[in-house]
């Protein structure tokens, strides 16, 4: 389900991010007051931090908010090789001339879009240097190379995501960073809501979806006692889709969930036993 509609102008392999307007309403089931909270932060020009485990709907929420606010959404998945100039921009040589090309963050600032930096802790430390002035009331992006300061318009919004579940101290968000943001906490939705989501996303029959969600809950019971994470909503949606494609429920749970969760054979066996307890 692709919600990001790139414009008609595809020049070469560059996608014009300005055209990342979300046209159709992305399906999002609110769990609490997150929509209101985000809205309020946005109108007050306060950046937002989304906290929560993997696959619980953070990205979907951002797409939904971008649609509500009618702003283009630019998502950057951070990785450990991502540098500040990957975000801000760099000079390129084109037809014998140098041309400055904005990075996604600079572009988002320029067009007053929403920039979503996914898994910010994965990025190299120097990236925080560029987001700090953007995330406090200065709201400027320093562009070291060009010597310019890009002032963010009122429509611009910075959002970052962070999964506090990691144990590693290397993946901890520094206080000077996190204290610039309004934090919205996400978790896996309560069972009835999660069932609705699974049904909507996969087309699976409701009673089976409810059982699948119960199975998800069972794996979450094991978090911290041998599992680092339980099954995410995303994994449950995957399993549901397999079932809709006529894969037997046990096989679907095995493929989409237990294999994805752990390599420990005993744990995998236990998770498979849990799914066979629910699905004959």
């Amino acid at each position: 389900m692709q919600k990001l509609i790139p414009g008609t102008t595809l020049d070469g392999r560059t996608l014009k991010t300005e055209e990342f307007i979300v046209r159709d309403e992305p399906y999002y089931e609110p769990q609490g007051a997150e929509i209101e909270l985000f809205h309020a932060a946005y109108t007050n020009q306060i950046p937002v931090l989304l906290k929560g485990p993997t696959g619980c709907g953070k990205t979907r929420f951002m797409e939904h908010m971008a649609w509500r606010l009618r702003r283009p959404l630019i998502t950057v998945s951070c990785h450990d090789d991502l540098t500040a100039s990957d975000l801000v921009g760099r000079y390129l040589l084109m037809e014998g001339e140098t041309r400055w090309v904005n990075g996604p963050l600079a572009r988002a600032v320029q067009i007053g879009g929403i920039c979503y930096l996914d898994e910010i802790v994965e990025a190299r430390k120097d990236t925080t240097v560029v987001i700090h002035p953007l995330a406090d009331d200065r709201r400027v992006l320093p562009m070291e190379k060009t010597g310019e300061l890009l002032k963010a318009p009122a429509e611009f919004c910075l959002a970052i995501s962070y999964n506090p579940g990691y144990q590693s101290v290397l993946k901890d968000l520094k206080h000077s960073t996190r204290q610039r943001f309004v934090a919205i906490e996400f978790d896996y939705p309560p069972a009835d809501l999660e069932t609705t989501i699974v049904v909507r996303e996969s087309g699976l029959a409701e009673d089976i979806a409810a059982r699948l969600v119960k199975f998800g809950g069972m794996t979450r019971n094991l978090k911290g006692s041998g599992l680092d994470e339980g099954a995410s909503t995303r994994l449950l949606v995957h399993a549901a889709k397999l079932m809709v494609s006529k894969v037997s429920p046990r096989t679907a749970c095995r493929g989409a969930v237990s294999e994805a969760l752990t390599d420990d054979p005993d744990m995998r066996a236990a998770i498979n036993e849990l799914s066979s307890s629910l699905f004959a």
Binding site: D192, A269, A270
Partner: protein, 712 residues
């Protein structure tokens, strides 16, 4: 030896040689010889060898043997055939020729038993899977143990040490699973919840003239109810359980049972309905139908004793949570002033969908309070036992509920006479939670060396655990071996094309061209400094001390490989005036003989005052240059010192010191060895990351594992 099988003619000759005494014209060796010719030379040699042995005891037994050994070889692998031979010769020796030859002829039966035996499943091979399985079912962990009786005391599930009921490993495993699930269902669906007039099942059974019969009947009826619960909640499991039973013998209920079945299978049925039906059927002189294969026993006395112990603990824990909440709300002081008691109200919120767990709603003075997750979990366990939060649980705990405070504090206070001075010592503040401020320069700390020991302890550990250690090294090597390409280096193995293009463009734009144009393979710069702070208080005596030392050896081995900078300190002391930090390995010291001798010299000393030690090591770490700084504490978790540093005071100071460290950019991580998982641990360590290890022998591997996870 030729590998060609012997022909039937050759075999007949061999047999005749051996069995001459028992053969006649009507009883020849022809038939066995011809059968044996179909086997390999190796099998033939095996038969001839044993024939010799057997004939040396008795020729008739020899004849019986050759007549049946072909069958044996077809049914069993050679080692099992040998067992059969030993078995029947044993019978012959003990009971004579007739029973002996009967045992030879019984080879078919023997083979069947062997097969059953080889299909047996041991408890040890399933315990891990089933423990995960049971925890997954409801989130509450039950400990699985092998035991003589199959039952649950609501904290443990006891299962047989071995199951060989079915001739298939898979089925025997399923029986284990079904049994564990049935006993889990007893705890989950309220078998032991007290009945209408507040009595437990033990009293109910004791009220009947024939106690044992009543108890059996009760178990059978309750199984009807639980089966129905499982059918509703876990349909897949239910089908499997019924299939197992069908494989053995279906359970048939007598006609008088019909009304009971109907009543107990209703979703709303509780153990009260079971008790009512017990009364009805008992008076009908009904004997219970056969037990289900997964049913287990009801050992009500054992269960009730265990439950009482657990309930007391849970009550205490629950009230401690309330106290914490009351403290945070500043309700304690308010109540003290007005002389009234702090009271909470609890109710349950059930989500509209019945699949979902109930959740606790706490209220204080009419204001709802969101209970922490751990408390939520605890309250579910209480709900399972009582169906509500009993009234007396809702009173916050008093001071006495903290560990240690109940001990008399009238210990001699001046251990210090004579030699006391503060020269060269470090002074540290301590947090007094009652006054909510620091006591200035309250603690006096000195660094001293651990007295080295000449025991070859480290070498011994290295030898004894060489397998584990090499495994450990491998995992850590993998960490280190994570080579990656560093971009934009000023020198390196290859040209960084992206960088060149960028630099070229920069240059054209009139900027200075960068020199960082190369890529370089290199190990990720870890830039890590870690201090291990090891509990040397008296309470670590024995096992824990040994496990700590072993953990240190393993860690040092692993850390040497990684090249992370590390230091190791032990701590103990008596009173605030004598806090002692024992140097085992300083940052600038290498892991050599001296360090090894100090590790082996670590011995339990006196008391535990953690706050001051954390503050001192935080200072130390702050002076070290490293991107990431870790402070890992290894303790048995009990803050305890001579002069009142115990109970809530010690908990709060330790907590405060950890929070201070965190704010100074250090990552504290606490590893606690505590079999009882004391309730104050979340309070003390909860502000930072921590784990509780309940099995001491797992400590060494666990510590290394934690370190690996923490730093990748």
């Amino acid at each position: 030896m030729s590998q060609r099988p012997l022909s039937s003619f050759e075999l007949e000759q061999c047999l005749e040689n051996c069995l001459d005494a028992v053969l006649s014209t009507r009883r020849t060796a022809e038939a066995p010889a011809s059968e044996l010719s179909a086997f390999t030379r190796r099998q033939q040699e095996f038969v001839l060898h044993w024939l010799d042995v057997i004939v040396s005891s008795n020729s008739e037994m020899g004849f019986q043997f050759v007549s049946h050994v072909p069958e044996a070889l077809r049914l069993l692998p050679v080692p099992e055939v040998e067992k059969w031979i030993i078995h029947f010769m044993d019978v012959y020796d003990r009971e004579g020729l007739y029973p002996g030859s009967a045992a030879v002829r019984g080879v078919g039966l023997f083979a069947q038993e062997c097969r059953i035996e080889s299909m047996a499943v041991d408890f040890s091979s399933i315990v891990r899977v089933l423990e995960h399985f049971i925890r997954g079912l409801s989130g509450r962990g039950l400990k699985l143990e092998a035991g003589e009786h199959v039952f649950t005391d609501t904290g443990h599930i006891y299962l047989p040490a071995r199951l060989a009921v079915f001739v298939s490993e898979k089925m025997n495993f399923r029986l284990y699973k079904a049994t564990a699930a049935h006993l889990w269902a007893q705890t989950q669906f309220g078998t032991f919840r007290s009945t209408r007039n507040g009595t437990g099942l033990m009293k109910v059974c004791a009220g009947f003239p024939q106690r044992t019969r009543a108890c059996r009947l009760l178990n059978a009826l309750e199984t009807v109810r639980l089966n129905a619960c499982i059918e509703r909640e876990l349909p897949g499991l239910y089908l499997e359980m019924m299939a197992l039973q069908r494989e053995l013998a279906p359970i048939e209920y007598p006609p008088q049972w019909q009304p009971s079945l109907h009543r107990l299978r209703k979703p709303a049925a509780t153990v009260q309905d079971t008790v009512d039906e017990l009364r009805r059927l008992f008076s009908c002189r009904q004997t219970p139908p056969a037990a289900f294969c997964f049913q287990g026993d009801l050992r009500l006395e054992d269960t009730e004793t265990a439950m009482r112990g657990r309930q007391q603990q849970e009550k205490r824990a629950f009230r401690l949570w309330l106290r914490q909440i009351a403290l945070d709300l500043k309700a304690v002081e308010a109540a003290r002033e007005t002389g009234s008691a702090v009271r909470f109200a609890a109710s349950w919120e059930r989500a509209p969908d019945p699949q979902q767990e109930m959740s606790l709603v706490l209220q204080f003075d009419g204001t709802p309070i969101d209970p922490p997750d751990d408390m939520q979990l605890l309250s579910r366990s209480i709900l399972q036992d009582f169906g509500e939060i009993p009234h007396d649980y809702l009173m916050p705990a008093g001071d006495a509920a903290y560990p240690g405070t109940s001990r008399p504090a009238d210990l001699p206070s001046n251990v210090w006479e004579g030699s006391y001075h503060e020269e060269g010592a470090h002074l540290y503040n301590e947090w007094d939670f009652r006054r909510q401020h620091y006591r200035k320069d309250w603690c006096v700390l000195r660094e001293i060396d651990v007295h080295p020991s000449d025991e070859p302890y480290v070498d011994e550990v290295l030898r004894r655990y060489s397998g584990l250690i090499s495994e450990l090294r491998k995992t850590f090597e993998m960490l280190r071996g994570e080579d990656r390409i560093a971009r934009k280096q000023s020198n390196g193995d290859d040209v960084d094309l992206d960088a060149v293009v960028e630099a070229y463009a920069d240059m054209h734009a009139g900027m200075e061209m960068s020199e960082r144009l190369f890529t370089k393979r290199r190990n990720l710069e870890r830039s890590m400094a870690v201090v291990f702070m090891v509990d040397m208080s008296g309470s670590t005596k024995g096992w824990i001390n040994d496990a700590e030392r072993q953990a240190l050896v393993m860690l040092c081995e692993a850390l040497e490989l990684l090249g992370d900078r590390y230091a190791v300190y032990g701590f103990s002391g008596i009173t605030r005036k004598r806090c002692e930090l024992y140097r085992v390995k300083r940052f600038d010291e290498s892991y050599g003989e001296a360090v090894k001798r100090r590790i082996s010299g670590i011995r339990p000393q006196d008391y535990t005052r953690m706050g001051v030690i954390i503050r001192h090591l935080t200072d130390m770490l702050e002076k070290i240059e490293a991107r990431t700084k870790l402070l890992i504490t290894l303790s048995d978790g009990k803050p305890d010192d001579y002069d009142g540093y115990r109970g809530e005071y010690g908990v709060e100071d330790t907590r405060q010191a950890l929070i201070e460290a965190k704010y100074r950019g250090i990552h504290p991580f606490c590893i606690t060895i505590d079999k009882e998982a004391h309730e104050y641990l979340p309070r003390m360590f909860g502000a930072v990351n921590y784990v509780v290890i309940d099995e001491v022998n797992k400590l060494p591997m666990k510590v290394a594992d934690i370190y690996r996870k923490l730093t990748t």
